[in-house]
């Protein structure tokens, strides 16, 4: 009986590992290939976009995906960081967009989530439903009015046109509210009896308990806005203001040699943040998903 159990467990584990390997494959390849020399990249991937007929005779002219570089080098990173300043400039563009969005949305959403989960007022549930509904809409739905709004506020072609709507997005409110529902109301009652006001309760009781929820939200927002493509394309005409996400997608043949390193540079902050905050992040997501 015990033997059968171990065998079944091992078989399932192997199956799950195979799936994990497939999922991680693109990420691992990006990493190892970022250590190739530009020449090796050109040899292996030069055929992308070539539309002529390839036969089995010249099959070696097709893409040759390679896990381990022939020659490990930091050439790409050197090129990227020293000789191509525009990449770094765009990296910072991304940072200056994403950090204020995360900070702003988290603060405003935490306040609103407190109201939606712990205070009682008329129309609360209707308002919340409206928040949820707009959260579900794709960006394109309010594209035109948002554009006109930005134009009238005079913030078109400035990062504010992206920052301001993002800060007030309903997503943070939704997630933190779901999370706050797990905090027992009795805590607040007790604090009220001791004479604490709502601000005091919010800062000293709710916020400390909210850590996993906020960690979850921060990672999810980071994922979403670090990836932003549509908004900058429409609201920022100036190519020098674009974040790296837009730019990386337009890497052309001449720049393929350093594209892997650029991708790694772009991926690294996300992945490191995730690994650092993983347990909080997962708890945060899980508690927002189950009813208390």
């Amino acid at each position: 009986m015990q033997r059968v159990h171990v065998m079944q467990k091992s078989a399932l584990t192997i199956g799950m590992i195979v799936i994990a390997v497939i999922l991680l494959f693109p990420i691992v390849i990006t990493f190892t290939n970022s250590l190739m020399t530009e020449r090796e990249i050109e040899i292996n991937y030069g055929m992308i976009g070539f539309l002529g007929e390839t036969t089995s005779a010249n099959v070696n002219r097709m893409v040759n995906i390679k896990l381990i570089p022939d020659q490990v080098s930091l050439e790409q990173y050197g090129q990227l960081l020293i000789y191509t300043p525009k990449y770094l400039a765009m990296f910072w563009n991304s940072v200056f967009l994403v950090v204020p969005i995360i900070a702003g949305q988290t603060v405003i959403a935490a306040l609103a989530a407190y109201a939606f989960s712990k205070l009682k007022f008329r129309g609360r549930d209707i308002w919340f439903l409206i928040y949820v509904l707009t959260m579900l809409m794709p960006f394109q739905v309010t594209l035109v009015p948002n554009y006109i709004m930005a134009d009238q506020l005079g913030i078109l072609n400035s990062s504010k046109a992206i920052l301001l709507p993002a800060i007030f997005s309903a997503f943070g409110v939704f997630m933190l509210r779901q999370f706050m529902l797990h905090i027992p109301y009795a805590y607040i009652e007790a604090a009220k009896i001791d004479g604490a006001g709502h601000m005091r309760i919010f800062l000293t009781i709710i916020m400390p308990l909210m850590k996993p929820g906020i960690a979850g939200l921060v990672v999810l927002l980071f994922v979403d806005y670090w990836n932003m493509v549509e908004q900058p394309l429409i609201f920022l005409e100036d190519p020098f203001k674009q974040p790296l996400s837009v730019f990386l997608s337009k890497v052309n043949d001449g720049e393929r040699g350093i594209a892997f390193a650029a991708s790694m540079l772009y991926m690294a902050p996300m992945v490191l943040l995730f690994l650092y905050a993983e347990s909080h992040f997962i708890r945060g997501i899980q508690l927002s998903g189950i009813k208390g």
Binding site: H5, K9, L12, T13, M16, A20, L23, L24, P26, I27, T30, M47, I48, T54, V59, R61, M62, V63, I65, I108, L111, L133, M137, P138, F139, Q140, V141, T142, L143, V144, P145, N146, Y147, I148, M149, L164, F168, A170, H198, F222, V223, W226, N227, V229, V246, L248, V251, R256, M267, M270, V271, L273, F274, L275, I282, Q286, L287, G289, I290, K291
Partner: protein, 276 residues
Amino acid sequence: MLFLLPSVIGFALFYLVPFVMGVSYSFMNSSVERQFVGLDNYNELFASDSFRKAASNTFIFTVVSVPLMLVISLGLALVLNQSVYFRKWLRTAYVLPLVVPVASIILMWQILLDWNGSLNVWLQYFGFERVDWMKTDAARYVVIAVYLWKNVGYNIILFLAGLQQIPQDYYETACMEGAGRFRQFSSITLVYLIPTMFFVVIMSIINSFKVFREAYLIAGDYPHDSIYMLQHYMNNMFMSLDIQKLTAAATLMAGCIMFIVIGLFIMERYFRQSVE
């Protein structure tokens, strides 16, 4: 009330008012003249081939990929929830694609999916014909695969949380009363997962709209017909300044989303009452 104020002001200014404006534009002849024209824009919209194509693609994509996602992520979550080795490591591996920026993985998709790409190298190696992944109907499967790749981990986490909520003694009681594994799954696991399931469905729908980014980054403004989504259509209408069609399409899409979500909420309420 002060807690809500900053959020409500910003929310109204950047979401609610624009949304109402958008809906009202969809009934006007131009945003300059502002004459009410009834359903003219909608009639024109429905007459447009590219709109019909985009709408049906978006519909098909959501209808196919969301259930597929549910089945796959629930299956993986069930296995992970049982006994496997390296459980924590596996969970991390499944979630990792979620945090990898789309743009930094685009190059990989190109390498895999190009006419001269790796997938075709492998196909040829095993004696199959090459497939031009992004320029044939195969593009649809590519986009579904990318969607699954990216979002499966998130749903697994949600399902794991739901599974851990189910008290273990329910299963023990069922076991003693002689319920088989399948019976236990269908009348305990599935039933108690329903609240989680609704949340997962909603998040999966949101994320299925976000797959547009991947499609856009891989294939540009005018991808192959099979992955031309409503968002492509709306973006292109914006670029050609056809505000009427854009707002009409947006209003329709918003209406459909509302319909689905409110339907889901009603269903959830109904299910929860029947459980209690």
